[in-house]
Symmetry: C2
Subunit: 431 residues, 2 copies
């Protein structure tokens, strides 16, 4: 069987996963790819670093040029992550007419257009299934399987760390800090968890999904982004009472020709399939105008699940004999982003007010002026030490602009101590 | 843009779906396929039949030869269903070097090998995503996305009719007959529901999934098959008490190099993602040695979801310029089927016994002799009119052969009125 030589850029977790899968499943992979895949070179920063994977020392190099200048290497597998030097390496590989498989969400989200255009020009493939949701074939799904559809919505739980934290808060009553600490101890969260808990990670992935599903170029900065740090055990508990679960959702919806593009904690009905996606699992819910509702569920991270996507992408290049365009951004039309004020949803508001008569009336009057209709209005625990009470308000469907105007006025009221939290309750019909 | 002429064989529900999708999403599909797709001919049995889809009369023909002899027609879309004449038409099309897209589960399950080998020989593509689970891209998923994996298990809810019936029984307390009647009224079940409720339909789909996931040829008759007709409201209720939900599962697992291959009602933990797949939705749970646990969820039937898969397959042929082998059965190795006696599971048994002392002891003794260990033993409702009581037994993990031997002996006991039902409780760990 003909041999194909490939090179790994990086030998971290994902690189190890790729190495292990190619060895463990070698026979089956060769049959399916139609080629014997040989890892010819592995680029690392430090040759002497201790690694819990055994690779022959002669494959390891710190010199990228060795790889780019080797014409016998046909595919570059970029699993180093980060913007640079990954970007330069990938563009260089494309120029040398090598195919590229990458797991780099940051790079594809922010520089995808440039990379895909270079690939088109040089007639090579750039595959990137592993860049979103690890082993879940969502990119393949949108790009290859759902091509008959106009996609109307993509709603994803695409950050495992925050889903783990919210699951612990929901099922075990933990508070945010404890759940975060446990996530860090288990290796689900970084020492600096900002990228996860402030939703940067999910926003990068949403940018990629949106690019594919809506055939548009997306500026990551145009994505509305809220983290989960303001979610308290109280919110979780009240959500449960109301029949909801709180999840960090990455959402893109086409409404009246514009894209709603946002990542934020969301209340969803506890019977919805996304509500039962727990721990560090990911899931992506897709609505297409032909296929209807579709959900893909699985492991969004981890060396083997992510390696599964990377190796699948390598096989895909080989099966097509490199003879297929990956993503043709040149035919994309830029879609307009809808302003957040136009979001149409129900809203959950938790407000601390002074415990005195007339409070509800004052708040209700303001909502009435802004045409926000209230679905329920519940007085919760009394904080007797300070003469304060906590109230929870759930609105009917309304525009976010109206909520914001109402809150401006409500914040000015003497009786208001603090608007503690505002959480969108997403419309999620199963059709 | 270059035009590609295709022909539909059949204009039933799926045919209508294909027609409507190709028209509604025309612009997007042309861009993605790289070709303008023209439906040049539609084969029907009766030109004058009233149809709720408007197609130009000049496209419709009753003469298949018109299609096969037209060299300008590059793709045949078989959406007529049934074994014949679908099989002859597909083989004829392949011989004429036309690519084939089919939605025909019966044909692919029983004659797939012959069809794929003909396709390989004639260098054409046969795509069949729509043959299993409608719009859910499970075939694409196994064949294209999960190629890095050794697949260890595929467990599916792949019959919408029975899932609808079991959902009604579970969530609304209906009995089987009423739920079936409602399914028939809503068009989910046929007037003769045998194929669905006796699990023939699910067995065909399981045969196809097994062929792909385990790269083996499967004889449909080698699939162990039980229907849902023996499931009563009582079983549903007791399952709930025990923390389970009853689903009709199509299961294939590789255990010690042999395939367990079976379709039967199964109790699964109510917190498992498959447990919350309700109504006529389908879902397929796949365990791969790299990707871990993966689930695909969506609409398993209906003209648009199924049409979504068919049109996706057409686009896939065009994007590859027909230049790709579909399924290469010639490299498959036949895997042995494990005998049902070797199944390792927990078992739920509902038995009607005479209401007298010593009954439990006699039954427990027999189980003990066969080394079946009992996890719980519950006396349920007393049927006072006849001096009978209903008991429910749940075993620990054991071999099915031991259960069968125990039941033979138990059936001989004087105190036994009837073993009402035996339901497997499937091991479904989330890893």
């Amino acid at each position: 069987m003909e041999k194909v030589r490939i090179a790994l850029l990086g030998l971290g977790n994902v690189g190890k996963g790729v190495w292990n899968i190619l060895n463990t499943n070698r026979e089956a992979i060769i049959k399916r790819a139609g080629y014997d895949i040989e890892i010819a070179k592995i680029l690392v920063r430090d040759k002497n670093k201790a690694r819990d994977v055994e690779v022959p020392q002669e494959l390891v190099t710190t010199d990228a040029e060795e790889i780019f200048n080797d014409d016998s290497i046909k595919i570059i597998v970029e699993v180093m992550g980060g913007l640079q030097p990954a970007k330069d390496y990938i563009l260089r590989a494309i120029k040398e007419r090598k195919h590229v498989v990458t797991a780099n969400k940051l790079l594809i989200a922010t520089n995808g257009k440039e990379i895909f255009e270079a690939a088109e020009k040089n007639e090579v493939i750039v595959n990137f299934e592993a860049s979103v949701a690890g082993g879940i074939p969502v990119i393949h799904g949108i790009n290859e399987s759902l091509t008959a559809n106009k996609i109307e919505e993509v709603i994803g739980i695409i950050n495992g760390t925050t889903n783990y934290i919210l699951t612990k808060m929901t099922l075990e009553g933990m508070d945010f800090e404890d759940a975060l600490k446990e996530a860090q101890e288990k290796g689900y969260a970084e020492a600096d968890p900002t990228s996860d808990i402030e939703s940067y990670d999910a926003a990068y992935k949403l940018a990629i999904l949106t690019t594919l599903a809506f055939e548009t170029n997306v500026d990551v900065d145009s994505i509305y982004r809220e983290g989960i740090t303001r979610i308290t055990s109280k919110d979780i508990e009240y959500a449960k009472e109301l029949g909801y679960v709180i999840k960090l959702l990455a959402i893109v919806k086409e409404v009246d020709g514009k894209l709603e593009l946002r990542v934020h904690p969301t209340m969803i009905p506890s019977i919805h399939p996304l509500a039962n996606v727990n721990d560090s699992f990911n899931a992506i819910f897709i609505k297409g105008n032909a296929v209807g509702d579709l959900m893909l569920y699985g492991r969004g991270a981890g060396e083997l699940p992510t390696g599964s996507a990377v190796v699948g992408d390598i096989i895909s290049v080989l099966r097509n004999d490199g003879d297929r365009a990956s993503i043709v951004t040149s035919r994309y039309e830029d879609k307009e982003i809808a302003p957040m004020d136009n979001i149409d949803a129900k809203y959950y508001l938790r407000i601390t007010v002074k415990d005195m008569p007339g409070v509800l009336g004052e708040i209700a009057t303001i909502f009435g002026q802004e045409q926000v209709s209230i679905a329920s209005f519940i007085q919760k625990a009394r904080r007797e030490d300070k003469g304060l009470v906590s109230i929870v308000i759930v609105t009917h469907d309304t525009l976010e602009g109206r909520i914001n105007k109402s809150l401006e006025k409500i914040n000015d009221l003497d009786i208001i101590k603090k608007v503690e939290n505002v959480i969108r309750i997403e419309k999620l019909g199963l059709k």
